[in-house]
Structure formats: structure tokens, C-alpha cells
């Protein structure tokens, strides 16, 4: 019987890493990132990575630790905003960076996993993003052709997973994880709660196990929050202070 469950992040990545590889990493900001697998990649020391991820963590956490160690050669992302080192390395030319609109990035990954080599979108027409790409008019509007994206490896974070690799995400920690699970030649997942097959309702599964090659219960989840924004208890509930 094929065994998807591995003991820890190091074991789950064994044999899958090589210099120059392309890796997709789930998460939006620090929300829903595979923090245990990222830490294991840092320890493994694999280099010249092309990393596909909406952001690149922050200084000292998330993918930021792979930037600091110089393991990343190129990022394919939509947003740099919260990471000073990321912005600095890019502006100084030390890091290649391919900017994708967030929705185009999400759709390229979904297309890659779905066997769609290219699609047309209105996003980015008339901007830097569409330069050098085919523009085509459909029914009176211009669209740009974007290509599907795949990776050698996708590293994913889910809330619950079972031994068959079926996954359920929690709240906005879902984000890029489901598409990335489909677009890696190999897919390794860390979950907060690893359960036996049969414990997840088949109607609630977000990522079917077919996409998951290896799964671990994460040893430790720091789950840092970038911007803890709260309201005092005496605020009236409802629409204020959104």
C-alpha cells in the first residue's frame, strides 16, 4: 500500500529537492503558509530556486528566510509590499522578479494543474504585464494570452488532512493552496490536524487526495499575524471599523 504520511518535513521532502528547481508555496502574506516545509527547505540548503508565491513572507519568517539565506534566484509573485529585503534585492537587481497580477497568477496556476497551456484575460491589457504577449480581440474587447504555470514541487498548508491526502482548509488560509496542490509535479502538504481516512466529510473536502503525494502533521505552527488589527470591547458591533 502506498503510504502518503511521512514523519516530518525533512522526510517528506527527501528526494524531491534539487538546485535550480521551481517551487510553488501556498499562502497569502503569512496566512496559510507551509511554515514547517519552508523551514525544512532552509535546512536542506537547496539553491537557485524559482519560487512561485503570491508574496515572499516577511523579514525573518515564511519565505523570507529563504531570501535571507540566498536560496532564491527568482520570484514569481504579485506583491512585495511587506518585505523590505524582497524590495531591496529586487531594486538592486540581486533577485529576479516576475510580477503577475494576483488573479492572473492564481489562474495561471489553476490552468497549469488543469492541463490548460494558455488562456485569455482582460487583466493587464495596456500595462507592462502584457508587453511581449499576444493580444487578441474577442467580441470587441482586448485580452492578453497568459500561460499555465507548473512547478517541480508544490508545498501546501491545510488545516485538516487525512491519510489519503484529502484536505480541508480553514477560512482565508485557503487562498493559493488548492490550485498549487494541483500544479506541482510533486505535492507535499503540512496540516494542523492529520486524521484517519473517513474522518472528513466527502462533501467538505477542498483538495482531493489525488493531488497529494506526501503529507505530514506539522511539528509546530507559529502562525504569525502580520497586522493584528482589533477593536476595543466597547465598540458597537456591526459595520464600524472594518
Amino acid at each position: 500500500m502506498v503510504q502518503k504520511v511521512h514523519a516530518d518535513a525533512e522526510a517528506a521532502l527527501a528526494g524531491l529537492l534539487f538546485d535550480g528547481m521551481t517551487v510553488m508555496a501556498g499562502g497569502f502574506g503569512l496566512c496559510g503558509i507551509p511554515e514547517n516545509l519552508i523551514a525544512a527547505m532552509r535546512l536542506a540548503g537547496v539553491r537557485d530556486l524559482t519560487v512561485i508565491s503570491n508574496n515572499c513572507g516577511i523579514d525573518g519568517f515564511g519565505l523570507g528566510i529563504l531570501l535571507e539565506s540566498g536560496q532564491i534566484k527568482k520570484m514569481i509573485s504579485s506583491y512585495v509590499g511587506e518585505n523590505k529585503l524582497f524590495e531591496k534585492l529586487y531594486l538592486s537587481g540581486e533577485l529576479e522578479l516576475e510580477f503577475n497580477p494576483q488573479g492572473t497568477l492564481a489562474e495561471r496556476i489553476r490552468a497549469g494543474g488543469a492541463g490548460i497551456p494558455a488562456f485569455f484575460t482582460k487583466t493587464g491589457v495596456g500595462t507592462l504585464v502584457s508587453e511581449g504577449k499576444e493580444i487578441r480581440n474577442f467580441d470587441g474587447d482586448d485580452y492578453v494570452m497568459e500561460r499555465g504555470l507548473v512547478a517541480d514541487l508544490s508545498i501546501i498548508k491545510a488545516w485538516k488532512g487525512d491519510t489519503e491526502g484529502n484536505l480541508i482548509y480553514r477560512k482565508t488560509a485557503r487562498n493559493f493552496n488548492p490550485m498549487m496542490a494541483t500544479a506541482g509535479k510533486a505535492c507535499v502538504v503540512e496540516v494542523e490536524h492529520l486524521v484517519e481516512s473517513g474522518q472528513l466529510d466527502p462533501d467538505h473536502i477542498h483538495t482531493p487526495g489525488i493531488y497529494v503525494d506526501r503529507i505530514i502533521a506539522g511539528a509546530r505552527f507559529e502562525k504569525r499575524i502580520e497586522r493584528v488589527t482589533t477593536r476595543p470591547r466597547d465598540t458597537a458591533p456591526g459595520k464600524e471599523a472594518v
Binding site: F28, S77, K171, T230
Partner: protein, 213 residues
């Protein structure tokens, strides 16, 4: 005299309608949520994968798995739902969101918008802004009328890299309100901020505009 950030948010809130699904950008647009009229049902979308965004959590109740597109901790409401980034942008790109209110660095008279980078100096990335302006049915930009240096931001043509070409329907600044015909091009000044004269706004605007007060 001019409008405050709160005044601008209040003006932007006039664009809301009952039953609307709305995406609010970071900064002043976020404040628009405070001006939703009583009895009006407006559902806020957060492009990282949520419909029905609620207020900030009470102190001590922040949840790392529940943030908005500005990475702030938020809460859920009775009608909330979660979805993936590809589903979220399918929703945006497919024209299902009624209104997007976002900030800007420059807006041109043809409806062009720049708000994601200053070459060689500042780079944030476009995030979801390019998708929002391309896909949402009506796009409202809220921004200061001029740079801190006094340089105009309402231009004949943007000189920063664009976020979208011919995408802005309405521009609200601290000095006034402009409608933009993004098919044909062309701005119409439809309101002046409190205490702002036509002379002042004309002097501070590079773009050509028709006065329709």
C-alpha cells in the same frame, strides 16, 4: 479647505447600492465601510478569498487564519463564505463584483490608472489591483488630488506604469469629484469639495475636464 479622508470615504459611499457586492482597497477605501447607510445591505469581498467581511475582531480574538487583503485581522458574518484565490479572481474577472473602490497614484483623463510602482524607487506589486480594475463593473478611485510636492496627479496621461488602461469610472479626490467616460475618454467635474473653488481645482489639475457642477 478641502475634504478630509473621512469626507472622501463618505462621498465614495454614495456609490453604494442595496444588494451590492463591493471590493474595498487599502487606505481611504477601507473607511467607506463606515458609511454604509443603515438598512442597506452591502457585502464586502476580500480578494484573498472571502465574501462577507466583518469588522476587526475584539482584542484577544484575532485569528491568524482570518485576514483581509491588507493582511489585517478581520471577522466573519452570518452570510460569509470562503474560497480559493482562483475562485476569488474568477468572481472578480467574471464581472460579478458590482463596485471596486481603490486608491491611486495617478489618474488620467482617459481613465488610465497607475497605483502599483515607481520605477527604480518604490515597488509594491500590483497585487489584485489589475484584476479588480479590469474585471469589476464600476471602478472608483479615491486619492489626494496632488502629490505632497504639489505636483498634479490628475493628468492628461499617466507617466507611471499603468495598473489599467481606460478603467476608472469615477475619481474622488480631496478637491472634488470627476466622472470619466472610459470608452470615449473625457472627464467631467461633477462636485467641488467644501471650500474649494473651480479656479483652485483647475489650477491643480493637468487633465482637461468639462465642468458639470
Amino acid at each position: 479647505m478641502a475634504w478630509t479622508r473621512e469626507d472622501m470615504a463618505a462621498r465614495a459611499a454614495l456609490e453604494l447600492q442595496d444588494g451590492f457586492y463591493v471590493n474595498l482597497g487599502i487606505g481611504i477605501p477601507t473607511l467607506v465601510a463606515n458609511y454604509i447607510p443603515d438598512g442597506m445591505s452591502v457585502t464586502l469581498q476580500s480578494e484573498n478569498g472571502m465574501l462577507g467581511m466583518g469588522p476587526f475582531p475584539f482584542e484577544g480574538e484575532a485569528d491568524a487564519d482570518l485576514i483581509n487583503a491588507g493582511k489585517q485581522t478581520i471577522t466573519e458574518l452570518a452570510q460569509s463564505s470562503y474560497f480559493s484565490s482562483s475562485d476569488s479572481f474568477a468572481m472578480i474577472r467574471g464581472g460579478h463584483i458590482n463596485l471596486s473602490i481603490l486608491g491611486g497614484m495617478q489618474v488620467a483623463e482617459n481613465g488610465d490608472l497607475a497605483n502599483w510602482m515607481v520605477p527604480g524607487k518604490m515597488v509594491k506589486g500590483m497585487g489584485g489591483a489589475m484584476d479588480l480594475v479590469a474585471g469589476v463593473r464600476r471602478v472608483v478611485v479615491v486619492m489626494d488630488h496632488c502629490e505632497k510636492t504639489g505636483a498634479p496627479k490628475v493628468l492628461k496621461r499617466c507617466n507611471l506604469p499603468l495598473t489599467g488602461a481606460g478603467v476608472v469610472d469615477l475619481l474622488i479626490t480631496d478637491l472634488g469629484v470627476f466622472e470619466i467616460d472610459r470608452k470615449v475618454g473625457g472627464m467631467r467635474l461633477t462636485a467641488l469639495a467644501t471650500g474649494v473653488s473651480l479656479d483652485e481645482i483647475t489650477a491643480k489639475t493637468e487633465a482637461e475636464f468639462v465642468v458639470a457642477l
